[in-house]
Symmetry: C2
Subunit: 505 residues, 2 copies
């Protein structure tokens, strides 16, 4: 006790919060420059922007790894702050510091360099649909990633692949994910053929008639995002090739792209990004720029975009409201956007090769495939050279289809080729969590569907703010669900959702 006491310093925790706020502020600058790069930067700015981002990232890393931080963490832990949020904050500071210091500087540098080189080659390989071009750089990147996983594992006590997952979504492990995904595979084997059969019995007539003018789409997207609850006094909607939600909680930047042949991608895309944006806007102000004040992880984030897009916006209730709005927007009749036609476009199930184009029922199959393959690669059980075959066999097992080429197979996603291993599970964990949260919200907030049928998201948003957003990163993934729904991740809500939506005639 005396030893611990001599080490305490009541000001240590305060110093840490100041430091972490400064780090977060530098990262806000990075986020803004990232938005700028994707949304508005002219081409010739690319080289200078890469330098700016690298230097800011190095500065933030340096602020996190200065020797005094370890001393302050020790001192603060010896005399922890009184509040629960503050203690969680301190834990998260320790975690961030441990992750940042776990990796030797030359490994970080080698990873950055190899990721950049590999991503570049991947772009060419995907264009040529030739995996062999990317195999060697990917193998090198995987080797470095395995070193990183081992180093993170050593400080966290997590298994190597879990340590990677943990950098994107704390509070869940591969051992917890695997049975959930296996269960879904079984569900899908029965559900998909039945959904296809039911779908085949219905008329497939798309809503409206193209072209859908870009300006009208944009005005509609803005109106819908505001209607869901996004305050444009603290947000922007712009265009980018790959839609995303960036910026900071008081200055959120969402992007989309418009296709005059199809309004649905932009409309649903913006509703998706609005879900992310509302999570950011709803994070606890009292803990702004502190680790506990950020989102609970990438799966948690995805749950918030998907609960808006998939659970709420593609529901019968909301589509009934949306039809006439679309008709007015594009100067067509309400009959052109009647529910069956919207369903034909927005709730169409189809086995396909490309993850980002997949419907909500088959999407998890794409994620399950990647989860198993990356777990095997990180474990050293799958060599990069064997990836194309493993991919094609895996997809065949899950969806009974085989990619015609690598571009539509193991070359389709950027993730591994830029060093993101452990990220993929977040997509489906988010989808499952969204269903679980929606099931609880629907039981608790009885007027929810009535409100959605009037285009009113307020009851849902209020529930999400109270049960998810305001907690920030207080809880890991399973604990967040436990607090909001009374149980950890439970895929039966997602299966029940799909059953109700796709398996009832």
């Amino acid at each position: 006790m005396t030893d611990a006491m001599t080490n305490t310093d009541p000001k240590a925790y305060r110093r840490l919060t100041t430091r972490f706020a400064r780090i977060a502020t530098v990262e806000e600058a990075t986020a803004m420059l990232g938005w700028d790069e994707a949304a508005v930067m002219p081409d010739n700015g690319a080289a200078a922007r890469a330098d700016q981002l690298a230097i800011l990232s190095g500065i933030a890393h340096g602020m996190l790894t200065e020797p005094v931080v370890a001393d302050d963490l020790d001192a603060a832990e010896a005399a922890p702050p009184p509040g629960e949020a503050e203690r969680r904050n301190l834990n998260l500071m320790r975690r961030a510091h441990a992750q940042a210091t776990a990796l030797p500087g030359d490994l970080v540098e080698a990873l950055t360099r190899q990721a950049s080189a590999c991503e570049k080659i991947w772009r060419a390989a995907r264009r040529s649909s030739d995996f062999s071009m990317a195999a060697k750089p990917l193998a090198a990147l995987l080797a470095l990633t395995r070193e990183k996983a081992a180093a993170l594992s050593a400080v966290s006590g997590l298994a190597p692949y879990d340590a990677l997952i943990d950098t994107y979504q704390p509070g869940i492990t591969a051992a917890e994910i695997a049975p959930v995904f296996a269960g879904y595979e079984t569900f899908l084997k029965h559900a998909l053929p039945r959904a296809e059969a039911l779908q085949a019995q219905r008329e497939y007539k798309l809503p409206g008639t193209a072209p859908f003018a870009e300006a009208a789409q944009e005005a509609l997207c803005r109106k819908l995002a505001a209607g869901v609850g996004l305050d444009f006094a603290g947000a922007r909607l712009d265009r980018s090739t790959h839609p995303f939600c960036g910026g900071t909680p008081t200055d959120i930047r969402i992007t989309t792209r418009y296709d005059e042949a199809d309004f649905a991608a932009a409309v649903m895309g913006v509703l998706h990004e609005t879900g992310h944006a509302l999570y950011e806007a709803g994070l606890p102000h009292a803990h702004a720029r502190q680790p506990v004040g950020f989102a609970a992880g990438m799966a948690a984030h995805e749950s918030q975009s998907l609960i808006i897009e998939m659970q709420a916006a593609r529901s019968d209730a909301f589509l009934t409201f949306l039809g006439p709005v679309l008709a007015e927007t594009f100067g067509q009749t309400s009959a052109d956007f009647a529910l069956p036609r919207l369903v034909a476009r927005l709730r169409h199930v189809e086995r396909s090769f490309i993850r980002v184009e997949a419907d909500e029922m088959t999407y998890p199959a794409h994620v399950i495939l990647r989860f198993r393959l990356e777990a095997a690669m990180v474990a050293g059980d799958l060599a990069v050279a064997d990836l194309p075959d493993a991919w094609n066999e895996g997809l065949h097992d899950l969806l009974n289809i085989t990619p015609p080429d690598d571009a539509r197979g193991c070359l389709q996603d950027i993730h591994w080729y830029c060093g993101l291993f452990g990220y993929f599970p977040s997509y489906t964990l988010g989808a499952m969590a969204a269903a679980q949260l929606m099931a609880t919200a629907r039981r608790t907030v009885l007027e929810m569907d009535d409100a959605l049928s009037r285009g009113d998201f307020a009851p849902l948003l209020a529930w999400l703010r109270a049960n998810v957003h305001r907690h920030g990163a207080q809880f890991g993934f399973n604990d967040l669900l436990r607090h909001a729904t009374g149980k950890p991740l439970d895929p039966t809500d997602f299966e029940a959702h799909l059953t109700a939506r796709y398996l009832t005639a």
Copy 2:
């Protein structure tokens, strides 16, 4: 000699260039965030943005003032690098370091705080046209500025006010400026009444008929900027309340605002900012991110915007080309934009109260007034309480008009109220330098006016690149002019320009 030798370190200069490149890269991030704030940021982002900018500024300052920098400067100076540009670069590093370390941390902090407070009160005072509201905070800011001037003076050996001027434009002093400005005052006393008399004899008929559609103005501005030589692969044109040129040499951001009642402000404004942009784009790539690779100062920068806007774009030659372009842009006749009508709008001389709205002949009077007043304030010869009377008397002496209120008098400009003392002379030094450069360019490049009459800026731009842009900050203000024109600042070229343009019937 032995002492000096023991202190040498051939790697010191290399370390300094690496450090200054990193500092410049952080400042690029700051520049981009500044553009974002002015051009696209939603209102609610303001507080977070202020934090981001403050922290990045603190980081850059910290990188410049780390103790090792002084050691490296000493070592590099003991064994200076071989090239002329490198030696100038080292001098500019020393200067930047001396300026940054001259000011005690608490003075910098007090200045930042007081400037922010004073600027806020100034906005309210200007709205109410009540100088008394702002007098006390301005006096406090002036007191801190005098401390700053004294501290900078102590390290540079310059007089206090010169030390302030030097932070914006190195290479010229108040003692050199004063007789130039006094000479202009004498010129103006004779020239202005004569210009007014000649103008009164001409018909005053404005070009075209409003409204001038915003979209058409914007398309035209883009076309003109590109025509002058701006490459939009490395630049953007956006909107902001106060037009400016920001960004970085490979990613230049210019802004303007549009008024459908008057096309001239946007068109001439964009040509002005394009002049700034071309200077940035033409800086020496080999010294990118080094002190010697930046622009030579604010007066030099202003000379480049004004040579494009005032010297070239408002010339008979270019206006002859511009008329039909305007007619086509706005779907009106060429006669609507005949030269006399363009001259009536774009070369109208008028005694007025507001600097930013002044024509090129009376503009220097506004600057001369501010130069004299701020020199007296910094010297302690003019108390802030006496500023309104001194202002009104000064303007009366120069232009024979008296502001009806402080909003149109000493409250009109933000500069002093946010701590900018020593900046004002740059505007008129730039205008004079533009005339001097143009006179030389016109003598050297005989086809220049022919080219301008075809809308072709290439000969002028080539001359500016060779004689101004590529030198970066190799020379101070007078030396830059000496290299480009064979003499230091000589206001007779500006007077000759005004005489030719305004005093010939």
